[in-house]
C-alpha cells in the first residue's frame, strides 16, 4: 500500500486532520480551564460564581 | 511657579471665542472659570494646555524653563481617555508612562497608589467598559495623582461623581494647592477651596 508514489499526500491529509481536531480539543479544554480560574477569582470577590454552578 | 496670561484671544472656525483675556496665578492659587455653555471655558483650558493656537496674547510661566508649557500641564477634559477593552490599571499605567516628565518618573507603585487614592483598586483589573460613569471619571482623574505636574487644567471634574467621590477629588485638589501647584478649573458648582474667579461669556460678546 505504501508503494503508491502519492502515499505522502494521504499521510499529509491524515496528519492535517489530526492537527485540526487536536487543536479544536485543546482550545476547548484550555478555554474551559481559563474560565474556571477566572470564575474562582471572581467568586472569591463576590461570593458567588462557582457555587452558582453547583446549585 | 507662576503663570500669567495677557490679552489672550482664541479663534476657532473663524469665530472669536474670547478676546483680550488675562489672569495671573501664583503658586498655590486656583482659578475658577465659569460662564454659560459655549462661552469658551474648554477652549481656554485647551489654549493654556497648548492644544490650541492663540490668535493673540501670550501665556508666560515663571521661572522660565526650556520645557514646553504643555509638558507642565495636566489637562482633564470631558473624555476620560480610557480604552474600553483595557483594564483600569492598564489604562492608567499607559497614561502614566506617556505623561512622564524629567521631573516625575512614576513607577507601577505610583499607579497603584493613584488607583487606591481614587478608590478604584477593587476594580483595577476589570475592563474599563465595565466601570460605571463615576468610576470612569475617577479613573480619568487618577492620572493627576499618578504623575506629578504643576499646572492642572480641569474641565468640569465633578460631573458624574457622587458626593463621596466629589469629596475625594476636592481633597486631591486641595492637596495640590497646598503643595504649591496651580489649578484652573471650569465648573458651575462653587468650590470649597479658595479660588479667584474668571467669568467668560460677557468678554466674548464685546
Amino acid at each position: 500500500m505504501t508503494g503508491d508514489p502519492h502515499f505522502g499526500f494521504v499521510i499529509a491529509a491524515y496528519l492535517v486532520a489530526l492537527a485540526v481536531i487536536a487543536a479544536m480539543i485543546v482550545a476547548t479544554l484550555a478555554d474551559y480551564a481559563g474560565l474556571k480560574k477566572r470564575l474562582e477569582r471572581l467568586a472569591a470577590r463576590t461570593g458567588r460564581g462557582l457555587d452558582a454552578e453547583r446549585k | 511657579m507662576q503663570i500669567e496670561a495677557s490679552a489672550l484671544s482664541v479663534e476657532r472656525g473663524g469665530r472669536i471665542i474670547f478676546a483680550d483675556l488675562g489672569f495671573r496665578l501664583e503658586a498655590g492659587e486656583a482659578l475658577r472659570v465659569n460662564g454659560p455653555n459655549g462661552a469658551g471655558k474648554s477652549t481656554l483650558l485647551k489654549a493654556i494646555a497648548g492644544l490650541l493656537p492663540l490668535a493673540a496674547g501670550k501665556i508666560e510661566i515663571a521661572p522660565a524653563s526650556e520645557v514646553r508649557r504643555a509638558e507642565l500641564c495636566h489637562y482633564v477634559g470631558h473624555a476620560d481617555a480610557l480604552k474600553p477593552n483595557l483594564t483600569a490599571f492598564e489604562n492608567l499605567a499607559f497614561l502614566a508612562a506617556l505623561l512622564v516628565t524629567s521631573a516625575a518618573r512614576p513607577g507601577v507603585a505610583a499607579v497603584e497608589a493613584a488607583l487606591e487614592r481614587l478608590g478604584l483598586s477593587a476594580v483595577a483589573d476589570l475592563p474599563a467598559a465595565y466601570l460605571s460613569a463615576g468610576q470612569k471619571r475617577r479613573a480619568g482623574l487618577a492620572r493627576l495623582v499618578a504623575v506629578d505636574r504643576p499646572i492642572w487644567l480641569l474641565d468640569e471634574p465633578l460631573t458624574a461623581l457622587d458626593a463621596p467621590a466629589q469629596a475625594v477629588i476636592l481633597e486631591i485638589m486641595a492637596a495640590h494647592i497646598t503643595a504649591g501647584g496651580v489649578i484652573v478649573v471650569a465648573t458651575h458648582t462653587d468650590l470649597p477651596i479658595g479660588t479667584a474667579d474668571l467669568a467668560l461669556g460677557r468678554a466674548a460678546h464685546r
Partner: protein, 256 residues
C-alpha cells in the same frame, strides 16, 4: 421530587454536559477506531487514483460537517431571534469556530487530494469553490462575534447574518456551478463518482459518524464554555458595582 430538567436553564444544561460528554466521547473514540481501521487498512485502493482515494474519507465527512454545523448554527440563530434565549446564543456562538475548523479541514484535504491529479494545489472546481465561499462566510461570522461587545446584541446581530447567509448558500452554490461550467476548466474533478463500491462506502459512513459525534462532544463542551464566559462577564460587572460602594471616605485625614 426533582422537576423535569429544563435544559433551557443553564444550570441544568451544565449538569447535562457533565453526564453526556463522557458517553459521547466514548462513542466518538470507538467510531474513529473502526472508521480509521476501515479507511486506512481494510478498503481497496481506487483503480484510477490508487491510495489517494483514502483522503476522500476525510474530505467528504468534513464537507458534510461544514454544512451540518451551518444548519445547527442557523437553527440556533433562529432560536436566538424567536425565543431570545441565552442558551441559543451559546449554541450558536460555540458552533461557529468548530464549523470554521471543519470547513478549513475540508479545503486542505481537498487540496491534498487534488494535487496528485492536477499537479496544482488548488483548482477552482465547482464543489471546492462553494465550500471555499462557505469558509469565507464562516470567517465573517467568527469575526462578527469578536467585534460586538455586548453578548445579547452580538447574538441577535450574528443570528441575522447567519440566516441571511443560509438563504444565500443555495444561490451561491447554483451560481458557482454555472460559473464553473461557463468557463469549462480543462480538468474535471471527480469526487468518488455516483456509485461508490460498498467497500468504500462503509469507511465513509463510519468516518462521517465519528466526525459528527466528535462535533457533538466538542459542541457540548464549547456551549458550557460560553455559559461560563457569560457568567464571568456578569460577575465582573457585579464586582465593578461592588467596587463602587467602597469609595474610601478618607477626606477626614490630613492630606499626605
Amino acid at each position: 421530587m426533582r422537576t423535569m430538567p429544563n435544559y433551557a436553564n443553564p444550570a441544568d444544561f451544565l449538569r447535562l454536559v457533565r453526564v453526556a460528554v463522557p458517553g459521547t466521547t466514548a462513542i466518538t473514540a470507538i467510531l474513529f477506531g473502526i472508521g480509521l481501521y476501515l479507511a486506512l487498512l481494510d478498503s481497496p485502493p481506487d483503480y484510477q487514483q490508487g491510495e489517494t482515494v483514502r483522503i476522500m474519507y476525510l474530505h467528504v465527512p468534513s464537507a458534510w460537517m461544514a454544512m451540518f454545523i451551518y444548519v445547527v448554527m442557523s437553527s440556533a440563530a433562529f432560536g436566538t431571534l424567536v425565543w431570545r434565549h441565552p442558551l441559543a446564543d451559546a449554541v450558536q456562538k460555540s458552533a461557529a469556530p468548530l464549523g470554521t475548523s471543519f470547513t478549513f479541514l475540508c479545503l486542505v484535504t481537498g487540496s491534498l487530494w487534488g494535487k496528485p491529479e492536477w499537479g496544482t494545489w488548488w483548482v477552482w472546481d465547482a464543489r471546492l469553490t462553494s465550500v471555499f465561499v462557505l469558509f469565507l462566510i464562516y470567517l465573517g461570522i467568527v469575526a462578527l462575534w469578536q467585534v460586538i461587545e455586548d453578548p445579547g446584541k452580538a447574538a441577535r446581530l450574528v443570528a441575522i447574518f447567519t440566516l441571511v447567509g443560509a438563504v444565500n448558500i443555495p444561490i451561491i452554490k447554483f451560481s458557482v456551478d454555472w460559473w464553473n461550467t461557463l468557463h469549462q476548466s480543462a480538468s474535471v474533478f471527480r469526487m468518488g463518482g455516483p456509485t461508490i463500491a460498498m467497500s468504500m462506502l462503509l469507511p465513509l459512513i463510519f468516518m462521517t459518524f465519528s466526525f459528527t459525534f466528535l462535533f457533538v462532544t466538542l459542541h457540548l463542551l464549547a456551549i458550557r464554555n460560553e455559559i461560563l464566559r457569560r457568567r464571568v462577564r456578569r460577575l465582573s460587572m457585579l464586582a465593578a458595582s461592588a467596587g463602587e460602594a467602597e469609595v474610601p471616605v478618607i477626606f477626614a485625614e490630613p492630606a499626605e
